[in-house]
Symmetry: C4
Subunit: 224 residues, 4 copies
Amino acid sequence: MVDSDPRGGLSKVRIEALTDGVFAIAMTLLIFGIKVPVVTPVTDKTLRHELVRLWPSVLTYVISFVMLGTYWVGHHNQYHYIRRTDRLFLWINIFFLMCVASIPFSASLLGQYPAARTALTVYGLNLIMVGGFLYAHWRYATHNHRLVERNIPPELVRLAKHRILVGPVASAMAACLSFVNVRLSLALFALIPLLYLIPGRIDRHWLRSRGEDLDPSRSGAQSD
Amino acid sequence: MVDSDPRGGLSKVRIEALTDGVFAIAMTLLIFGIKVPVVTPVTDKTLRHELVRLWPSVLTYVISFVMLGTYWVGHHNQYHYIRRTDRLFLWINIFFLMCVASIPFSASLLGQYPAARTALTVYGLNLIMVGGFLYAHWRYATHNHRLVERNIPPELVRLAKHRILVGPVASAMAACLSFVNVRLSLALFALIPLLYLIPGRIDRHWLRSRGEDLDPSRSGAQSD
Amino acid sequence: MVDSDPRGGLSKVRIEALTDGVFAIAMTLLIFGIKVPVVTPVTDKTLRHELVRLWPSVLTYVISFVMLGTYWVGHHNQYHYIRRTDRLFLWINIFFLMCVASIPFSASLLGQYPAARTALTVYGLNLIMVGGFLYAHWRYATHNHRLVERNIPPELVRLAKHRILVGPVASAMAACLSFVNVRLSLALFALIPLLYLIPGRIDRHWLRSRGEDLDPSRSGAQSD
Amino acid sequence: MVDSDPRGGLSKVRIEALTDGVFAIAMTLLIFGIKVPVVTPVTDKTLRHELVRLWPSVLTYVISFVMLGTYWVGHHNQYHYIRRTDRLFLWINIFFLMCVASIPFSASLLGQYPAARTALTVYGLNLIMVGGFLYAHWRYATHNHRLVERNIPPELVRLAKHRILVGPVASAMAACLSFVNVRLSLALFALIPLLYLIPGRIDRHWLRSRGEDLDPSRSGAQSD
């Protein structure tokens, strides 16, 4: 809560508060993509049948929830190193949040039309935009140490960039795959969250830096 | 807000912020499970009649709101003892929140089909998953003192485990009962929140530990 | 953020966080009670006509938003004096929030059926329950100084009780009036928020106590 | 988090928490203004066709999200200078939030009827009200230094007033333009957020004041 650098404290805290809010709401609103089925006549068999047919919506719910969770952690990891903010940085943030807040729409669209290439493309584009703005966010902040601390290791900056790009690149591949086979495309979307489950080289970096300075917030930074 | 252990502070605070957000939203969205009835012609009698017919939705609203409140308190009680976080722990948290955020769907389903065994089973499964992840959360954190303080009393770890399991076990029983009698199953679901109203052995434990060290956050920990 | 009494700090902060969340969400969800009209054919005249017909929904939106704002301030004013929490107090809080979260339903019902006595009664009952739990909350906390500081002036306790009761009593009157004339009943509901706009004797009390000790949070307490 | 003036601290923090919540929710709920299209038969061509037809909703989503983001920053900039609160100030805040929370309705209306003058007028009026209450908020707080610090530069007070008025004035112009040409009116609404992207004279002022005292929260204040 207390920031070491006197020039970026409160503003950082406020942006984080809005970000936490938008993420928590977008994640929770995803559930509205799964509609309670209307069945006639109401029997256990018809209801079970209709619920089973909801599997694409459930799958999209799980993928989207985990992806948003992943991006939320990624955003916070970046903020650990950010010391200042400026007007353009704030605007990148607002556009990032705008793309985050539109995931419930894309997820709902994909859940309803899981076999339509268009729905897979829209969902992929939305994920690419979220990841792209997160990448721009990090690039803008770290370029020439614009908004970060001076002594940030260059390797960390580079590894974090690579790590962020995993999401958009895989999303682009999944969206392209939809032109070949829609089922395979959906399967690849389902695999993206797993890519973030695997610890990467950046983890070792964070673990090392954590061991060195016992910084209070590095421990969270190890997972993205 | 200030964490004594230097290796898990900010991350803990951030996870708690996201958790508070998801719980508050999921609890408030439950109300959308109660649909404003459409009546024709609009008379007091027809409207009253339609509102009375909403009782299953109202009952599910009350049960779900109180259950989510209970699990929210349980999550915070755990965080009182947690000192560090790691990647897997964060993922358990995200899956826990995913199940929490899906309660509005299950509750709405049960409110609309209170006599369908399938709806009772889905609702029960959802509650079991929320409770199960909360159990996994505690087990993972306390196993070999992985993420908790060294001097945590073993009896507290054990009692908290039992206390958490009350919810999922009772939910499983209620879901199974639906194969015998749907009304009884619904009644058992309505009783689960009451089980948490009764003070248990863990309260005495917390009261004792509170008396010993006057720890600022134990007083909240006494209720789960 | 920092609590002077070591036995109720963190828990108090957490309850306030959940409360802030539920209030902010319930207040913002109220807007879904005003449905975007479907018009055919789409002309300015038909659209304007349909929008004008939404006036009961708009009125209910305004009343409910201001009432929730008022109760939110009232809840915070109470927390200024509260030093400890216990299990029953937490449960009063959860039931209070449950009634708060159901206001969007009652408001939407009244907006759709503004001439139905049943809708006016349901809305009134909901407001009575919110106010009633807030009253119980204060009564439980202050009875024999159970959860409040010892030196709280008895007159303040009494005046706060009266102030809280204004809402539920006026709501009950408005609900009863619906049996005589529905338009008058709606008008009385619209007047309730104004009752809280008027400064009362409790203000002078708070102003005095503020002058005496310059307590940082009394200034907010002056408005309810 | 810690306020230098002893008479307005906690209350300020609490109002900011509610404000952050209402903004984050209103911004995220905007997405419900873009409805997932229902297409029959489900082909890529029909779905693509229907998605393209959603462009007015997407445009309104973008405008509204950015406008709310802008007003959120503006509200926080004001709070940087505010030291005290009083009853009337709190009420201005609540009415401000009420207008903010109604943007999802106006945006959804405009997205559905982008060619209707009535929808453009309603949307414009809503933006005027949000900006107007933000103006009243600042005017009330700064008049005779009512709620702000004594040494606030008069030029800053004046420049901030002008800056806030940009939004409502441009909204009024866009709404009026709808009586001439609805397409032009929509285009002007789309331009308003860009007006806030351009750094203004107030930025230089803030940068200067930041350089002087290195106040931790001025850096956020530079963007509105």
